[in-house]
């Protein structure tokens, strides 16, 4: 009797604890989901929206299958478990039934037909969508471990932070992305704007987004590309048409020439910086690293690994491994004065 009570109490307590754990986990998950800016169920762009709708449909069907089959299984386990007062006899032996087998073959076939047709429709709708005249073209080049964005018709080259205009029903303005890689495989993924598409050397790909709300959308490389794959982050700024035009105008200017930071510019042009980086209007014409002509107009440095502040820029130039151990940029062994001059110069590059 005593033992039975203890057992009951233990069972009750463990159920309570389990319930609490599930509840806490659920609350934490909700908190995380509310904070997330990379939620595939919170689309802000046409293709991501189409995918979200399709995924709800698929979730409903698979959820239905789970509840019915899982329910049958659970019920069978509870109903047919061995009891204490069972005799030693074996249950009736049933070897099979052709009718039943046929039934549970035909039903899944029908489900597959429905799922396949729905899926195919969305594949063609997204993948073979015609490109409107008004579409913006951007060429994305993946590098270990940063993103290069080229706007061929606008003559702009920038890095890591993509600016695109918002699209409205009256004035649709999707952005079509041409995806290339300079070295290994990468994958372009901004979950709230579109599914991912890989950037593969010798294998150009295309994808498109049509953002319907302004704001910043986050993403990152989704194909393992080497040591710093984790810090190949991606920001997409969806601007109003006015903001976007202003941004374009700014980016089309050559690098600012400010006499007060001439010392920093000299450091930039005389050290090895120019081998990899470009600043229009200067001698620097490298293409291995990000274009820095308008570095100061960007919010982040090191492909999103750090905010673009004076302190961070200083730390980054002094030792890139500080933010991104394994990044391709070497520490240039500049002295304190040179780094300060260089940072002052870079800070003027709006």
């Amino acid at each position: 009797m005593m033992r039975e009570n203890t057992a009951k109490a233990i069972r009750g307590i463990s159920r309570l604890v389990l319930g609490l754990i599930v509840f806490c986990a659920g609350e934490l998950a909700r908190a995380d989901a509310a904070q997330s800016q990379t939620n595939i169920f919170a689309p802000a762009s046409t293709p991501a929206g189409n995918i979200r709708d399709l995924s709800w449909f698929v979730l409903a069907i698979t959820g239905g299958i789970f509840i019915s089959v899982g329910g049958l299984l659970a019920w069978a386990i509870i109903r047919y478990r061995e009891r204490k007062n069972d005799d030693e006899s074996e249950p009736p032996q049933i070897y099979g039934s052709t009718q039943v087998e046929l039934a549970w073959t035909v039903i899944p076939v029908l489900i597959v037909v429905v799922l396949f047709l729905t899926t195919a429709r969305i594949i063609f709708a997204i993948q073979d969508a015609p490109k409107p005249q008004a579409a913006l073209d951007v060429t994305v080049v993946g590098h270990q471990y940063w993103w290069e964005f080229r706007y061929p018709k606008l003559g702009i080259v920038t890095a890591n932070e993509l600016h695109v205009p918002v699209s409205t029903r009256l004035e649709p303005k999707p952005t079509f992305l041409h995806l290339l890689s300079a070295d290994v495989d990468h994958s372009f993924w901004v979950p709230e704007l579109a599914g991912k598409t890989d950037l593969i050397p010798n294998h150009p790909n295309d994808t498109w987004i049509e953002p319907l709300r302004t704001g910043v959308y986050l993403g990152q490389c989704a194909q393992f590309c080497g040591v710093e794959h984790a810090k190949m982050l991606l920001r997409v700024y969806v601007d109003t048409p006015e903001q976007f035009d202003a941004w374009v105008k700014l980016q089309q200017q050559p690098g600012v020439q400010d006499a007060s930071v001439a010392a920093g510019r000299r450091v930039f042009e005389t050290e090895a910086c120019t081998n990899c980086h470009r600043i229009t209007g200067t001698a620097a014409a490298g293409t291995f690293g990000p274009d820095l002509t308008h570095l100061a107009s960007r919010v982040t440095i090191a492909s999103g690994a750090a905010r673009n502040t004076t302190v961070n820029l200083h730390a980054w130039i002094e030792d890139p491994d500080h933010f991104k151990p394994g990044a391709q940029m070497p520490a240039m062994q500049l002295d304190e004065v040179q780094v300060n001059e260089l940072v002052a110069y870079l800070n003027t590059l709006h």
Binding site: A25, A29, A31, D32, Q35, S36, T38, I40, P47, I51, V58, T62, I65, F66, L73, A76, I77, Y80, R81, E82, D86, P91, Q93, I94, Y95, G96, S97, V100, E101, W104, P108, V112, F116, T119, A120, I122, I123, D128, Q144, L179, D183, V184, D185, W189, G195, K196, T197, I200, P201, N202, H203, N205, A222, F224, G226, V227, H229, A230, L233, G326
Partner: protein
């Protein structure tokens, strides 16, 4: 009933008399030179369990690093090595070795044979696989990589080109990876040939193909599939080595090679490989579920047909790993359809297992608990597989933690659960002693709870856009709490596995004596003593149905009256 002596239980004692001098060396020597299928089966399995602990430790290191954003437990380089080695080890050194261990031990016993068809090839295959494992782990101390001595492979277990090219992976870590898998692959091919030859030519009298236990059927199908799939992998590895050493340009994109060709080669191996691993697990479940439900398997012919069907369809689905590489919309649609089709035979299998339980008398012993866990988890794994096959949704889910969750549901929730079930079920046969049920229950419940804490949560962090293969993540992405929960579940699973390891050792020394047939089962391996003597059967058994021991135990109501 359990200990009734059966007419086919007699044995011939061919063990040489023990000598007392140098006993340990002789004992070791005996294991090294053995060609006995049972000893090789045990070697394979022990080897697999050892690497399960190693790769499990790597997983724990990964989870500690990801428990919180910006952790510095592992360096980025070491993290990349950890996940590469975790994946490679679990697939090639744990999954493959344990399933071939089971096959080696059980197939001859189940079909009433005295050994495998080619005992020497069998030993050769094991040692090839074993040396492959040693070779890849040697890279941790001897591999000279980008970061100096002691660089293990760090290119992911899928090793996509051109990251594996000399330009991006200097040093030898990637060479160790390729060579080790070539070596281990030859061992795998040898065992696959052996299993096919054994099942086709060594069955005892009366054991027609359609009377073979389902485990044997599944191993036959798996071995056929292995022959087809290991070949392209080995070919691709050889091409990679040619690229790296002889200036070939198969995958070297800088010289006009193709990264996509590697993906095709890898996944035409890689996807059927999943079925190579999971179908033996189906086989284990198909043996255990009937015995512990006290009923014959429901729909045996349908189960066989579904297994063969899965094997065929699985050869045409590989590019569903490549929906994001930029195939045409028509190819994408084709692979959506072929992938969804796998769901039909798989569904049939699940329905037949449920129907087997239905109307039975379910004994909830440890092996059955693991099998029931498998049924629930495999149902979910199948359904998340359907979700991933929906190409547009796959563009979101691919390479996210949702995929990690899905395939761990298959590899752990289905395969590892059934391997545990199989070990609890057959350990008495192999050692002559029962595993502790009390420890077994602890093992099951802790592992079950830990598994769900970890892998259920992973689906959600995938929905929130967390990609795989990242050594750290930004604190503002909304992944913090979920990752912490995932890591906690990993620790619960680790504790469960340690209990299991302790149970293996403890019960070997102090376990209850098992007798021939502790579970009151029906297949031939339970007719011989535990452990079975060398050469298994003194006289060739004769069977009349799929459950020869049922016929013996129920002479009034034998199976052969009902089987078609």
């Amino acid at each position: 009933m359990a200990d009734q002596s059966l007419p086919i239980a007699g044995t011939v004692d061919v063990t040489p008399p023990r000598r007392s001098t140098a006993a340990l060396l002789e004992w070791l020597h005996g294991w090294v030179v053995t060609v006995d299928h049972k000893r090789l089966g045990v070697l394979y399995t022990v080897y697999g369990i050892f690497f399960l602990l190693v790769a499990g430790a790597e997983a724990i290191a990964i989870r500690i690093q990801l428990a919180w954003p910006g952790m510095h437990f592992l360096s980025p380089e070491l993290y990349n090595e950890m996940f590469t080695m975790h994946g490679t080890t679990m697939v090639f050194l744990v999954g493959m070795t344990i399933i071939f261990g089971f096959a080696n031990y059980l197939v001859p016993l189940m079909i009433g044979a005295r050994d495998m068809a080619f005992p020497r090839l069998n030993a050769f295959s094991f040692w090839m696989t074993a040396f492959g494992g040693l070779l890849i782990y040697y890279s941790f101390i001897g591999g000279f990589g980008l970061y100096g001595m002691g660089a293990a492979p760090d290119v992911g277990w899928w090793a996509y080109a051109p990251l594996t090219a000399k330009a991006f992976s200097p040093g030898h870590a990637t060479d160790y990876w390729a060579l080790a898998l070539i070596v281990a692959g030859f061992g795998t091919l040898g065992t696959a040939i052996n299993v096919i030859a054994t099942t086709l030519s060594m069955r005892c009298r009366g054991m027609t193909l359609l009377r073979m236990p389902l485990f044997v059927w599944l191993m036959l199908v798996v071995s056929g599939l292995t022959l087809i799939t290991i070949t392209p992998l080995t070919a691709a590895q050889i091409m990679l080595v040619i690229d790296r050493y002889l200036g070939g340009h198969f995958f070297d994109t800088q010289a006009g090679g193709s990264a996509v060709v590697w993906m095709h080669f890898f996944w035409i191996f890689g996807h059927p490989e999943v079925y190579v691993l999971v179908m033996p697990a189906f086989g284990i479940a198909s043996e255990i579920i009937p015995v512990f439900s006290r009923k014959a398997i429901f729909g045996y012919p349908a189960m066989v047909a579904a297994s063969v069907g899965i094997a065929f369809v699985s050869l045409g689905v590989w590019a569903h790993h490549m929906f994001t590489v930029g195939m045409t919309s028509v190819s994408n649609a084709f692979f959506v359809l072929s992938t969804m089709l796998v769901g039909i035979p798989t569904g049939i299998k699940i329905f037949n297992w449920v129907a087997t339980i239905w109307g039975g008398k379910i004994r909830l012993a440890t092996p059955m608990l693991f099998c029931l866990g498998f049924l629930f988890q495999f149902l979910i794994a199948g359904l998340t597989g359907i979700m991933l096959s929906v190409a547009p949704w796959n563009w979101q889910l691919h390479n996210s933690y949702f995929v990690i969750a899905h395939f761990h549901y298959v590899l752990v929730g289905a395969i590892v659960f059934n391997v545990f079930a199989g070990i609890y079920y057959w350990y008495p046969k192999v050692t002559g002693r029962m595993l502790s049920e009390a420890l077994g229950k602890w093992h099951f419940w802790l592992f079950f709870i830990g598994f769900h804490i970890t892998f259920d949560t992973m689906h959600f962090v995938g929905f929130l856009g967390m990609p795989r293969s990242i050594y750290t993540y930004e604190p503002d992405r909304g992944w913090n709490h979920l990752n912490f929960i995932i890591s906690m579940g990993g620790i619960v699973q680790a504790i469960a596995v340690l209990i299991f390891a302790w149970n293996l050792v403890h019960s070997y020394l102090k376990g209850k004596k098992a007798g021939n047939d502790p579970w009151d089962a029906w297949t031939l391996e339970w007719a011989v003593p535990s452990p079975p003597p060398v050469y298994n059967f003194a006289a060739d058994p004769v069977v009349h149905s799929r459950r020869p021991l049922w016929d013996l135990k129920h002479p009034d109501d034998p199976d052969w009256k009902y089987e078609a």
